[in-house]
Amino acid sequence: MIKAILIFNNHGKPRLIRFYQYFAEDMQQQIIRETFHLVSKRDDNVCNFLEGGSLIGGSDYKLIYRHYATLYFVFCVDSSESELGILDLIQVFVETLDKCFENVCELDLIFHMDKVHYILQEVVMGGMVLETNMNEIVAQVELQNRMEKSEVSDQ
């Protein structure tokens, strides 16, 4: 199960956080800080997995991350997830964002936080992978956007 999804920039500023397990606000911030601390000191040419922390759920806990330009995408998962599978899921997620925002950059994530959340909801639900097909995800998001628009015009 995916326990948390964190996106922060090279300076450790959170850009999107989503926890699938309850943590109090200060604990959430601590997790973000420590995760950033762990991930940021790793070179780009080392592997994308980190083990051995005990922040979430004891020893059965792994960080799988990818670094894109100014952003880190970090998935905190337990042992029931496949490492490479999650790695490609991050890729799918980012590619979907790219499709929806046309050349996604950090600013899109800042100012369209709500939208990013919607997209994420179509990919992961309650810590479980819901959909991995990019076209399918984009179609769902667009469908909802259309509904939204029709409602706005009704008003």
Binding site: N10, H11, K13, P14, R15, L16, I17, F19, Y22, E25, Q28, Q29, R42, D43, N45, V46, C47, F49, L50, E51, G52, G53, S59, T70, S80, S82, E83, L84, G85, L87, D88, L89, V92, E106, L107, I110, F111, H112, M113, D114, K115, H117, Y118, Q121, M125, G126, M128, V129, L130, E131, T132, N133, N135, E136, Q140, Q144, M147, E148, E151, V152
Partner: protein, 1141 residues
């Protein structure tokens, strides 16, 4: 602040204008983000957000706020939450909004509602939440439910609420669960596949939170699995993976379906939509492979079904993309998990090669992981990749290094241990991650103990372990080490040599710079020096004393360590009165009371050499020390304290439970604990009210420790249980390996080393690496590969401990500390203890001597005799205690109170379907002139049936008889016949309750009332009560010896205790076990020699395994269970059964 953001901010306005979607971004949010980026300090940010939040609070509660504004507020609230500020006040508004609004609002609110749910989750589990709040939460949860969010976690609380609450709570409580699952169950048949898919996932969450509540929808899961849409089927696999993980046996029938699905997927039968980088549905494949490996584990016939499809998967996955490797990795794991097939294993091994040799670092990592998994089955595989492994050892990536060491740990044997341990220590020295250090240091210690080639290496390695691991070390590492030194092996000479090495090396360490040494290392050193410094004759004892005293003066030394040092000094102080008196003088004004007390004792002992010799005899054998874990010598003190009004002792877990219960309001004015316990104590006199509770206290500690260590502590217990279950007792010749065996390699291993040579990686023709390789992988050849599997013979551990008679009375890890504190008679750990004891010593010396008695260490003749007497006395006492204590302190059970007086022909009235069940005697509960009640217990496998017979004793008809039974600790699953409209004269009606016990309690009392009408309009009530014991809920667990072995290893909570052995018959063990079996419905699995294994379970729930060993005149009982309280309960009943015998 981020520079990137700052720079781009200047271009912001243009950006917004150009984007169509930007219209949705509210001005306020834009302002907020902008002003946050302009701020320079965290403090300013905090102020700003606080302002923002209070403004929002005002807005949301104002009635003039429009829907659109509301939405903006929600987005801003989400932003604040992300920055770590509490915006929970918006949650409830979010729900409201979502309820009235359209799609747009709903989506906006969805995020916040999820947070609301998690906040509620916390609230409901908090014990401080009042009933009223609870009710409100339930209503809120229902709101969320209505909107289609998953609030299933509230179910269980709703049910609880319904049980305890008033009418209103009951209505809300029972409503929620039903309300809850229905929308999902209906939407599972929804036309749109995406909705079906989400509904399946929601049901899965449901299942995770309240598995019992969704029993009825298992059929729906199957329906989802057979859904025509592959997406829905994929979602349902989440559920099946979980279900199969819990009980693989109940889903074996689905193997065929899973195999077919996988075959279709691999064969490309799915629509192209499901392809990812032209691989058909990779995530689906991964899930399926995991499910198959779970199903095929240790099951040949099931495994055979899947060989073909696994082969196909291995063959198909050949494209060079990450995701194919993900599938391959799962495939390899599956092949090695299921019942082995040579052909597949070979292919899988080749795949591992692809991983390990890959230039991609992620694949290399997975390769190492796969190897680590696989070497447990086939150690030779590591040989093929030795050069890569060595390269990985020097890799710059921390994660890779760590994984490599993990792999090396698995292939360690007596020949390569020095090299591997050296590598590990090198890594540790450069590592600064706390978790890794703790994890790895424990492994080094384990390896050192198991395979050490010689004494000096062992001591040196342990020195490194202590100085690197420092105070992060698990407590059992130093404990085990000291135990090893103290108990020694069979040969005395060798032990002394080891001890001598230790003394020498510690003296060298202490002569150097000591301020940087960790406390734990100092403690170990001072203990060893105290015990064994006298062995080294070439060193002046005064020098040792000087070194130790020096330590005492150092500021960095903690007060606990000082206690250890002082104990050591006490032991070696003999004959050095001048030095000691100075020391004692200087410490007698210390702030620390324990130190002061020790200094006093030190002075006394150094002045009276006879007393010193008697209390601390030098070089006395360790076996003689008997730890009185029941602390019965304190009984007098305890009963005094109780008489003076102290609260009786409770074991930790019980305290915890009561703490939780106590949080609710206590409406009873006062408990009546005092007078009751007082009288019981005065009657029982020297008996120990703490006897039972102390044992559970100890066990509590040991569980904690063993959990911390994460591994089994099996030292000193004969290794009867191997990886594959019970190891039949082989006659092993087990002298410790004297010669460092690395020097002389057996021919087989030499061959292996040679075989390695012609296989070097052409790129790395490095002589050093070659050498390293041959030293690392030595002993992994054909001959010894098997030994790694633990199948033929385990490598004999270097340091074999003597079987220890008191093993089971105290947990192994706490054993040493107990013993060491005992031996010095100065408890270094338990301050209170030494305190109690100390005051005894000072007040009346006579008692102090008798208090010494429990450690029959004295060598003087009269001391010994005296010891024996008291010991026997005590034993006699103990058995009395067992008998007496039960009757007085514990609430008596039904049989005790009411001897079977009712004629058993009542059982003839039992319903036909219950007649054949084993049942207890019928006993009378209560009676009044018109009704008499009696009860009988029927033992069904999954429940206890409490049958209540209601007999009409009058000649008239009694009407409207209704039985009401309450018992807080038990769960009533069904009841029948509790309301009778009309009970004829002289007739009997039967009503029965099926009761479940979820949490074991030693005894459970139930109360109830019967209401009836003899004349219309005139209702009588007759109260009754009774007690049930855990014994009623224990059922035999029928397992084979092998299953037992596997189960044993998987259980975490254990308790050890010595019990009385019934010695009146020829075979004491068999007699005792049989009598236990009769009393408690246990299942005796096997009896081998002086050991017996017994299994039982709590109804159809948690198992409890008992391991019994005859130990002199006692039965050492070791219990394990997944449930923390169950072993204590069973132990209690065992003690009781034996005492009654």
């Amino acid at each position: 602040m981020s520079d990137v953001v700052e720079k781009t901010l200047t271009a912001l306005p243009a950006l917004f204008d150009s984007q169509t979607g930007a219209a949705k971004i509210t001005n306020r949010l834009r302002q907020l983000i902008k002003s946050i980026t302009e701020l320079t300090s965290k403090h300013e940010e905090e102020n700003l957000i606080k302002q923002e939040l209070s403004a929002m609070k005002e807005q949301v509660s104002s009635p003039n706020t429009t829907m659109k504004q509301m939405r903006e507020i929600m987005v801003r609230a989400m932003y604040c939450e992300m920055l770590g500020y509490d915006a929970s006040f918006t949650y409830i508004h979010a729900i409201k909004l979502a309820q009235q609004g359209g799609v747009l609002e709903k989506r906006e609110e969805e995020n916040l509602i999820k947070q609301e749910l998690s906040a509620m989750k916390e609230q409901v589990s908090s014990p401080n939440t009042t009933m009223k709040q609870m009710r409100e939460i339930m209503v809120r949860a229902m709101y969320c439910e209505m909107l289609g969010y998953d609030a299933s976690f509230t179910y269980i609380h709703a049910i609880k609420l319904a049980q305890q609450g008033g009418v209103l709570e009951k209505r809300v409580g029972t409503f929620t669960p039903h309300f809850h699952s229905s929308p999902y169950i209906t939407s599972i048949t929804h036309a749109q596949e995406i909705i079906r898919r989400k509904a399946v996932l929601a049901l899965y969450k449901f299942y995770l939170i309240a598995p019992n509540q969704v029993q009825h929808i298992h059929a729906k899961f199957r329906k989802a699995l057979c859904d025509k849409d592959p997406g829905v089927m994929t979602s349902s696999l989440h559920i099946y993976l979980q279900l199969i993980r819990e009980s693989p046996d109940s889903y074996k029938d689905l193997t065929g379906s899973f195999v077919t699905i996988l075959k279709q997927v691999v064969g490309g039968k799915l629509p192209l939509d499901f392809n990812y980088h032209s691989v058909p549905a990779p995530w689906l494949q991964i899930q399926l492979l995991r499910i198959l490996s779970l199903l095929g584990k240790e099951d040949q016939s099931t495994s055979e079904l899947m060989y073909e499809v696994l082969d196909e998967s291995l063959r198909r996955a050949e494209m060079n993309h990450n995701i194919t490797y993900a599938i391959l990795y799962e495939c390899v794991k599956a092949v090695y998990t299921i019942h082995p097939k040579a052909e597949l294993l070979e292919k899988a091994a080749r795949c591992i090669g692809n991983f390990v040799l890959s230039p991609k670092i992620n694949l290399k990592y997975l390769g190492l992981k796969a190897l680590t998994y696989v070497v447990q089955h086939d150690a030779k595989l590591a040989l093929q990749h030795q050069m890569t492994i060595i390269e990985c050892l020097d890799h710059s990536d921390f994660t890779i290094k760590r994984e490599t060491l993990e792999l090396l740990f698995r292939i360690t044997n007596a020949q390569n241990v020095t090299v591997i341990v050296e590598k590990m220590l090198d890594f540790l020295r450069s590592c600064n991650d706390e978790h890794t250090i703790i994890h790895l240091v424990g492994k080094v210690a384990e390896l050192a103990e198991k395979f050490a080639p010689d004494n000096s290496w062992f001591i040196q390695t342990m020195n490194d372990v202590f100085s690197i691991g420092g105070d992060l070390l698990q407590q059992d590492v130093p404990n085990n080490f000291l135990r090893l030194l103290a108990e020694g092996s069979e040969s005395k000479e060798e032990d002394d040599q080891l001890r001598l090495y230790a003394v020498d090396s510690y003296l060298t360490v202490l002569k150097g710079h000591t301020s940087h040494l960790p406390q734990c290392f100092l403690q170990v050193m001072s203990w060893v020096l105290g015990e064994y410094a006298h062995l080294q004759e070439s060193v002046d004892q005064r020098e040792v004393i000087r070194l130790l005293t020096q330590l005492l003066d150092q500021r960095s030394v903690s007060s606990e360590t000082r206690v250890w040092i002082l104990s050591a000094l006490t032991k070696i102080s003999e004959g050095q009165t001048d030095l000691i008196l100075d020391l004692a003088e200087s410490l007698s004004s210390s702030q620390d009371t324990v130190l002061r007390q020790q200094a006093q004792e030190l002075r006394h002992l150094s002045q009276e050499s006879q007393l010193h010799e008697w209390a601390l005899p030098r070089g006395a054998p360790w076996d003689g020390i008997e730890v009185d874990s029941s602390l019965s010598f304190l009984d007098g003190f305890v009963s005094e304290a109780l008489a003076a009004g102290a609260a009786p002792y409770k074991p930790p877990h019980q305290r915890q439970e009561e703490l939780c219960e106590d949080r609710a309001l206590n409406l009873e004015p006062y408990g009546f604990s005092l007078p009751v316990s007082l009288s019981s104590c005065s009657i029982t006199d020297r008996q120990s009210p703490t006897l039972l509770s102390v044992s559970s206290g100890l066990s509590g500690n040991s569980t904690e420790l063993s959990q911390k260590a994460g591994c089994l502590i099996l030292e000193g217990v004969k290794r009867v249980w191997g990886k594959d279950g019970y190891l039949p007792q082989k006659k092993r010749s087990t002298p410790p390996v004297d010669e460092p065996s690395a020097a002389v390699q057996p021919p087989g291993q030499q061959e292996a080393a040679e075989r390695i040579e012609p296989r070097p990686d052409p790129l790395t023709q490095n002589q050093d690496k070659q050498q390293l390789a041959s030293s690392l992988f030595v002993g992994l050849g054909v001959g010894s590969a098997m030994s790694l599997l633990g199948k033929s013979e385990a490598p004999p551990p270097r340091f074999r401990k003597k079987p220890h008679p008191h093993e089971s009375s105290s947990s192994s890890s706490s054993g040493t500390s107990e013993r060491s504190s005992d031996s010095s008679s100065r408890s270094s750990r338990n301050t209170t203890n030494s305190f109690l004891y100390g005051s005894l010593l000072e007040k009346e010396p006579a008692t102090s001597i008798s208090a010494f008695d429990h450690t029959p260490k004295s060598t003087t003749a009269n001391g010994l005799a005296q010891n024996k007497d008291t010991k026997e006395d005590r034993r006699a006492n103990t058995s009395q205690i067992l008998g007496g204590d039960m009757v007085i302190v514990r609430p008596s059970t039904i049989q005790d109170k009411h001897p079977p007086s009712v004629s058993s022909d009542l059982t003839a009235l039992l319903p036909a379907d219950l007649k054949d069940l084993p049942h207890s005697d019928v006993i009378s509960l209560t009676s009044d002139p018109s009704l008499s009640l009696s009860s009988c217990r029927l033992f069904r496998d999954e429940a206890l049936l409490l049958v209540i017979f209601i007999s009409n004793c009058t000649e008239t008809v009694i009407k409207d008889v209704a039985v009401q039974l309450t018992c807080e600790e038990l769960k009533t699953v069904s009841l029948r016949g509790n309301v009778v409209d009309c009970l004829e004269a002289r007739s009997t009606s039967v009503c029965h309750y099926a009761l479940l016990m979820d949490d074991p309690h030693t005894n459970v009392s139930f109360t109830g009332t019967v209401s009836y009408q003899t004349q219309p309009g005139h209702t009588n009530t007759l109260p009754f009560s009774g007690t049930l014991s855990t014994a009623d809920f224990i059922r035999p667990l029928v397992v084979t010896t092998e299953e037992y072995g596997k189960l044993w290893l998987s259980l975490s909570h254990d308790v050890k205790q010595n019990l009385k052995l019934l010695t009146d018959a020829g075979d004491p063990l068999r007699t005792t076990l049989n009598s236990l079996k009769d009393a408690l419905q246990l299942h005796v699995v096997d009896i081998i020699g002086s050991e017996g294994i017994v299994a039982c379970r709590l109804l159809s729930g948690a198992p409890c395994l008992l391991h019994c060993r005859v130990n002199g005149t006692a039965l050492a009982m070791w219990l394990r269970s997944p449930h923390p309280a169950l072993p204590d309960c069973i132990l209690y009943h065992c003690q009781r059964a034996l005492a009654h015998h």
